[in-house]
């Protein structure tokens, strides 16, 4: 019974992620209108056949902007997770493999990065380096490093005492090769789960930063930014505020469910 419940999560997650990915792919080739095409005569339209999700304060098609925004969300998610994964694996495997004082120092630094609550670390970064999509990705990427480093390290600690590692050493395999070829594959599945969950939090964080006006800047469309623009016209066009939020929620939900589902398949007892 329990097992079915969890695979249920997995399937819902897959469906949502596939749906969003579909939107991203389609948006590269087709959007109903040009994102920047303004039409003052048609501003604040309610959802209708011509504009499925209505129009905004410049008469721009909201569906088209949502579609372009999905590109931004996925781009920020992918690249920041990429940064986190790369440095996380690097730091985690060095800490786990060499242990001792190296481990202590690296993991203490990771603890310190995690100690900044919520968006604070990203906000500090953006404050210093300036706003924009690149700095947002870097800041969110650095924020996600500790997560990956911890997972990699704990995997390394489990595998390192095993006999086959000693054997590999005794026939003269280099440390780097042992780390990457012999130990790392054991950590892959928890890392995939963390990627999925991390993607969800990156999308949420990007939306938050952009909502504050400190993340993605125009002309790059962003769901968070659409929310902050819509807030000024809340009374006139409530749908404008509702739609981007639904997409943010859907992305976070989809990737969280997917991560949950994968971890349940990996370890059905959980």
């Amino acid at each position: 019974m329990k097992k079915r419940k969890y695979s249920f999560n997995f399937y819902i997650g897959i469906v949502i992620v596939a749906f969003l990915l579909g939107i991203v792919i389609v948006s590269f080739f087709y959007t109903p209108y040009t994102v920047t095409q303004m039409n003052i005569g048609k501003k604040f339209l309610k959802p209708c056949w011509e504009h499925l999700l209505g129009t905004d304060h410049f008469g721009r098609d909201i569906l088209s902007r949502i579609m372009m925004g999905s590109q931004t969300a996925f781009q920020v998610g992918l690249i920041s997770i990429g940064i986190g994964l790369f440095f996380g694996i690097l730091i985690g495997s060095i800490a786990g493999y060499y242990g001792g004082i190296v481990d202590e120092i690296l993991m203490r630094i990771m603890d310190a990065v995690i100690a900044f609550p919520g968006l604070l670390f990203a906000l500090m970064f953006v404050a210093v380096l300036g706003q924009g999509i690149v700095n947002t990705m870097i800041a969110l990427g650095i924020m996600s490093i500790p997560q990956f480093a911890r997972i990699t390290r704990s995997g390394f600690l489990q595998v390192k005492p095993l006999k086959y590692i000693d054997m590999a050493k005794s026939i003269g395999v280099s440390n780097f090769r042992i780390m990457m070829v012999h130990i790392l594959p054991n950590v892959i599945s928890p890392l995939i789960v963390a990627c999925s969950m991390g993607f969800a939090s990156a999308v949420l964080a990007e939306a938050g930063l952009s909502y504050l006006g400190l993340g993605v800047q125009p002309p790059n469309p962003s769901w968070g930014r659409m929310l902050s623009e819509s807030q000024m016209y809340l009374l006139k066009a409530p749908t404008y505020s509702i739609v981007p939020g639904i997409f943010i929620t859907l992305s976070v939900l989809g990737f969280n469910l997917l991560g949950d589902g994968i971890s349940a398949i990996r370890d059905p007892r959980k």
Binding site: N9, L120, V128
Partner: protein
């Protein structure tokens, strides 16, 4: 006692590294702070004088030592924009934010805990899946979006408060509470989902334990078993996530304050960032980070006292 000592030493290490990170990040500011302050037409003498005054002629370590020494004395520097000590600016706003966070925390607990008990009590497939779906959706909801929706519903449609306005509690307690209530709910909803997700599972794990059967067999009523036995044990794992939740609530209020135009530290921070008021931002980052570390330490110690079985690691 040994536990406390080890815990304290690791916290002090984290504290030290947090201050180092904060200090270094603000050293990499692109552009020359002198030029920014004096403009490009400043003459050499002026530049040298200001460089001395801001101690930019000193090596990094010396400046870090001065900075941290002052910070320990409660001097976080002077805000460029407000021309006032950063610590004063923070303290006024912190009153507002801590109230907001406290109300959000209370709401999270008084709704989250009973909800977990109820959903755990009816342990069947429908409720299980339903709870799982709702808690997953709840956790995915961005609190600032909830805030916007609530502004629409309670502010514009039902006219419970005026969007864009804020009444301090000191001025009118009931009104002030009202203006903090809606943002607190917006922060609390995703956190309630987190609590339910963890606590429900913890309760259900405990319900199957032998001691629960024993408690029933000695004739206790079901709510007595729940409160005295199950909940006491089930809350232990939940306390570990409590530190995280409190940190999240504080972090979440940074954005929510922007949605509801509440004059707390969140708005001050955003203002500081937009104005490139670096002393202000740096001071606030360190202040907020320290508070969160302190809260986490408290939660850890509490955890240790509630369940002495837990040792470090």
């Amino acid at each position: 006692m040994r536990y406390l000592l080890r815990k304290m030493s690791s916290v002090i290490m984290t504290l030290f590294l947090v201050t180092v990170i904060t200090f270094i990040v603000f050293e990499i500011i692109p552009g020359d702070p002198i030029a920014a302050k004096l403009g490009i037409e400043a003459d050499k003498v002026q530049i040298e004088a200001l460089r001395k005054e801001l101690q930019l002629d000193q090596p990094l370590i010396v400046r870090y030592k001065d900075w941290i020494g002052n910070a320990l004395k409660g001097d976080l520097g002077i805000s460029i924009r407000f021309d006032e000590p950063v610590i004063n600016l923070i303290q006024i706003r912190m009153m507002v934010t801590s109230r907001l966070a406290l109300i959000a925390l209370v709401i999270t607990i008084i709704i989250g805990v009973p909800l977990s008990i109820i959903t755990a009590k009816y342990d069947n497939k429908g409720i299980g899946i339903g709870t799982s779906i709702f808690s997953q959706i709840g956790m995915a909801l961005p609190s600032f979006w909830l805030g916007i929706l609530m502004t629409y519903l309670f502010g514009l449609v039902l006219k419970q408060f005026i969007p864009g306005r804020y009444v301090p509690m000191e001025q009118n307690f009931v009104q002030g509470l009202n203006y903090l209530l809606y943002p607190a709910i917006a922060i609390a909803i995703p956190k309630i989902a987190v609590v339910v997700r963890y606590l429900r599972n913890a309760i259900m794990d405990q319900t199957n334990q032998d001691y629960v059967r024993t408690a029933y067999s000695k004739g206790l009523r079901s709510h007595q078993v729940m409160v005295r036995h199950i909940l006491r044990n089930a809350l232990i794992p939940v306390i570990t996530i409590m530190g995280m939740i409190i940190a999240d609530i504080l972090g979440g209020s940074l954005i929510i304050e922007q949605v509801f135009t509440i004059p707390g530290i969140g708005r001050l921070l955003i203002m500081g960032i937009s104005n490139r008021d670096f002393p202000l931002v740096q001071g606030m980052v360190i202040y907020i980070a320290l508070i969160v570390i302190a809260i986490n330490l408290l939660v850890d110690i509490m955890y240790h006292f509630i369940d002495p079985r837990i040792k470090l690691n």
